[in-house]
């Protein structure tokens, strides 16, 4: 874990608020972001997490000047939010990106390069580099109307990196990718970090955040409900063990109680959740009933557990499954 | 694969067939008529700002097609659409010279070549002259139509003189003005008139002028034939039985009209005339 530097943060959000008008009546507004305050140190990988409607995308759009805040401001790489100078060193991957059907990836990257003021030679080289990095070189000259979601996602990542940005905003970067693709994105993010860039990404896929982020902020209903380094948010105590057993049927489990808290089936095997203290007794009980213990895994609290614990039942309008 | 293609062909063939049936029942030009009953020239003009000239061209093409679609000398020709079509055309484009000349020609000609409305023709030409005051050809036509169709050599001469004043007009207009006044009604003058119209004309108008010239030639030939018949009667005391008789007697002039149809001979009257079957024949040919 990188030490938190005292130098100017890459991103300094102060009291950002935004509400949307509901319907066409002047009166009713739905608050999307309430007084958001956050700092992202340089060189960190920062995760912005939360269920649908929690304000993650709103935050990104505000930072990029796509929408305008009701109050508050932000400083991005030392520049005020929305200033052109900031955007010279930024990269952005929107959620569900849509590019131009009639262009090829190479052409799109060339266009992006032109907007950054790169010379034709530099654009060509950079395009080649990026196409290779995200793995779409074979389709470099195919019009994007033929692209799957996964390929668009890869291009999205590529175009976010054209200018070797100091700060990269990624909105649901893993969306639409197969496991190989996701691994590839993870590697790219780690590579960016190794090169000194700051990465700010929002996601609802918690395991990704767990493995990549130095710090996270958890949003709910437009406010931050938890913020800080992962190891500060999650308890690392090994609280449970996962015991994989074979040779027992679900009805047999009741006989193993009180050791077993819960269990689930995996085909013809069972996975038992057992508090650490009860482990010994449960193992013996399993063997006595003719089952076999295949493996024992310590389980620490995951971000998902944290979510469930801290947030309880979803409030009205929240959805846990789809991205926000 | 075969059945749908066959079906498509059958249905496609049905389209023109049913159209022909509809036209037979309801009349081929009914769309034009219906439109004309609804819109005046001004109304049409207001509908298409910026595209008036193009629409005038469309109406012009329809006018030519409408008239050309009817055989030159056929029984039930309809002229009631001619003036409205031309009216809309020149309302849309007041400078479309050819529309005035064409419209006037076929309004003025006697039925069944034209509508037999020389007054309407002259009014049309007057409108043309108002809209194209520097066009000597329209003014010339106006003058000539006064002479030939309205039997008004005075007015005709005046107008021809006006035309002669227009810069760029040819020298013969002044001569024509004088001739028209001096010899009003004379065949030579008529020939001059139609000669000019023939030289300047295009398409149907040229053909029409050619027909007039042929008619004049025919009348000249008939004069000679009738003189020969009279001479024959005086000489032999008996009218010729047929026109071959005067040929046998030594007459050398043509016995057929310029389109090749033999002259008709009425023994009881002792006169040769144009055969009614000839395309040159008109009632009351001057």
């Amino acid at each position: 874990m990188l030490p938190v530097t005292e130098a100017a943060p890459a991103l300094d959000i102060r009291g950002l608020s935004k509400s949307y008008r509901i319907g066409h009546l002047r009166g009713k507004r739905r608050p999307a972001l309430r007084d958001l305050t956050l700092r992202v140190p340089r060189g960190a990988v920062f995760g912005c997490l939360g269920p649908n409607g929690s304000g993650k995308s709103t935050t990104l759009k505000l930072l990029l000047g796509l929408i305008f805040p009701d109050s508050g401001d932000a400083v991005i790489l030392g520049h005020p939010m929305g200033a052109r100078a900031a955007r010279q060193s930024l990269g952005y991957l929107p959620e569900n990106p849509y590019f131009y059907d009639y262009l090829t990836p190479r052409e799109y990257l060339d266009y992006a390069g032109r907007l950054f003021g790169l010379s034709p030679g530099a654009r060509r080289d950079r395009a080649r580099e990026l196409l290779d990095l995200v793995g779409i070189t074979p389709a470099a000259d195919v019009q994007m109307r033929r692209f799957s979601k996964g390929m668009l996602q890869r291009l999205g990542l590529a175009q976010a990196l054209v200018n070797r940005p100091e700060l990269v905003f990624l909105d649901e970067p893993m969306s639409g990718l197969d496991p190989l693709g996701r691994r590839s994105v993870r590697e790219i993010i780690l590579k960016l970090k190794a090169e000194g860039s700051t990465v700010f990404f929002s996601t609802h896929i918690l395991p990704d955040a767990e493995t990549l982020c130095d710090e996270v902020a958890v949003l709910r209903g437009g406010s931050v409900v938890a913020k800080g380094r992962l190891d500060q948010i999650l308890t690392l105590d090994v609280s449970h063990m996962e015991v994989l057993v074979s040779g027992l049927a679900p009805p047999d489990v009741s006989g193993l109680a009180p050791g077993v808290e819960t269990f689930r089936s995996m085909g013809e095997r069972l996975v038992l959740h057992v508090p650490e203290k009860q482990l010994g007794g449960v193992v013996v009980a399993v063997e006595q009933r003719g089952g076999r213990v295949l493996s024992v895994q310590p389980v620490r609290q995951s971000l998902e557990d944290f979510f469930v614990a801290e947030m309880g039942q979803p409030a009205k309008g929240e959805a846990w499954t789809a991205g926000a | 694969m075969r059945a749908p293609a066959l079906l498509a062909m059958l249905l496609a063939a049905a389209v023109p067939w049913t159209q022909a049936r509809i036209d037979a029942r309801l009349g081929r030009h009914r769309a034009q008529e219906e439109v004309l009953y609804l819109w005046s020239g001004e109304q049409v003009r207001r509908l298409v700002p910026g595209f008036e000239d193009l629409l005038a061209d469309v109406y012009w093409l329809r006018t030519v097609q409408y008239f050309g679609g009817q055989r030159v000398y056929a029984a039930n020709k309809r002229f009631d659409l001619l003036l409205p079509l031309v009216d809309i055309t020149v309302t849309l484009d007041p400078r479309l010279q050819i529309a005035y000349r064409y419209g006037a020609t076929f309004l003025a000609e006697t039925y069944p070549i034209g509508a037999g409305q020389p007054q309407a023709a002259v009014k049309l030409l007057e409108r043309g002259v108002r809209n194209l005051p520097h066009d000597w050809r329209l003014r010339q036509d106006l003058g000539l139509f006064h002479y030939y169709f309205l039997d008004d050599p005075q007015r005709a001469s005046q107008i021809l003189l006006e035309a002669a004043q227009i810069p760029g007009s040819p020298p013969f207009l002044a001569t024509l003005a004088a001739q028209v006044l001096m010899k009003g009604g004379d065949r030579t003058t008529s020939r001059q008139v139609w000669r000019r119209i023939y030289e300047q004309g295009e398409g149907p108008m040229k053909n029409n002028a050619a027909i007039h010239l042929a008619q004049l030639d025919a009348l000249d030939a008939l004069d000679a034939v009738n003189a020969a018949i009279l001479a024959h009667e005086r000489g032999t005391g008996v009218r010729p039985a047929t026109l071959d008789d005067i040929r046998a007697a030594g007459y050398r002039g043509p016995l057929v009209d310029p389109v090749g149809v033999p002259f008709a001979y009425d023994r009881s009257e002792g006169r040769a005339t144009l055969a009614p079957s000839s395309s040159l024949w008109r009632p009351n040919l001057k």
Binding site: F68, P97, A112 | D57, L96
Partner: protein, 254 residues
């Protein structure tokens, strides 16, 4: 400027790849058929009719393109969100808008230019001569197209694509019927003179750009006339584009 050029270039490329220029094929067919058939059918008015047809087609096709492509220029990008990754780069909204306008303007220039070439080719094929005065009418038509694009752009930013299509069409039609508007005072008795005047000024007067009749009949059109027509177009288009810039700056891109 380079960024504006980049946006313009891409916009032109989009037009080409989205087959906007296919209307030229249709135009070529019309010219060829007219050239072949009109001579007899029109009693040798074919040259005049072909000029009328060519100029009218430029006007009509050009207007349709300016309108329907114009309303989608920016609003389609907003609706599909293809705009978002681009605006995150150091291109301002103003540059984007102006670039889009320039790109479509260039597309229309190419379209009109090729039609002009086709028209002249047809006239030359009929041995009727290439009258250079036609270019004045073409130029005026092109100015009208730019005005149409500007209007489409503004309306599409302040409303949706669909509403913008209809309202721009209405404005374009109203702009051609300026004589009707002049007579509005008669039709609507209560209308005050200032309102009528305001109406007349607000609506683009497309009659200013209609030189077709004059050019085909050989009336003189001085460069002074063209100069004033251009100035009107510049003033009107400039105003509309500036308003569009203001509206676009304030538009939230959710």
């Amino acid at each position: 400027m380079r960024r504006v050029a980049a946006v313009a270039h891409n916009t032109f490329r989009e037009s080409v790849r989205e087959r906007v220029l296919y209307n030229l094929l249709f135009f070529a067919v019309i010219m060829t058929v007219s050239g072949l058939l009109l001579g007899e059918l029109s009693i040798r008015q074919d040259a005049k009719i072909i000029k009328d047809l060519g100029l009218a087609a430029m006007d009509l096709f050009g207007t349709l393109i300016a309108l329907f492509v114009g309303v989608g220029l920016v609003s389609k990008e907003i609706e599909r969100r293809s705009l978002h990754p681009l605006l995150a780069k150091p291109v301002s909204r103003d540059e984007f808008l102006v670039g889009k306008f320039a790109g479509l303007g260039f597309t229309l220039l190419v379209n009109v230019g090729l039609m002009t070439a086709g028209l002249y080719a047809t006239l030359l094929a009929l041995r009727r001569g290439a009258d250079p005065a036609l270019l004045k009418a073409v130029f005026a038509i092109y100015l009208a197209l730019l005005v149409t694009v500007a209007l489409a752009l503004l309306l599409s930013i302040v409303t949706s694509t669909a509403v913008a299509s209809v309202s721009t069409l209405c404005l374009v039609i109203a702009g051609r019927y300026s004589d009707v508007i002049l007579n509005l005072g008669d039709v609507v008795p209560g209308m005050p003179a200032w309102a009528l005047r305001a109406f007349m000024i607000l609506i683009p007067n497309f009659r200013n750009f209609d030189l077709k009749d004059r050019v085909v009949y050989g009336d003189p059109v001085s460069f002074g006339d063209l100069g004033w027509i251009t100035a009107y177009a510049a003033a009107y288009t400039g105003t509309v584009i500036t308003l569009a810039v203001i509206a676009f700056r304030r538009r939230e891109l959710t």
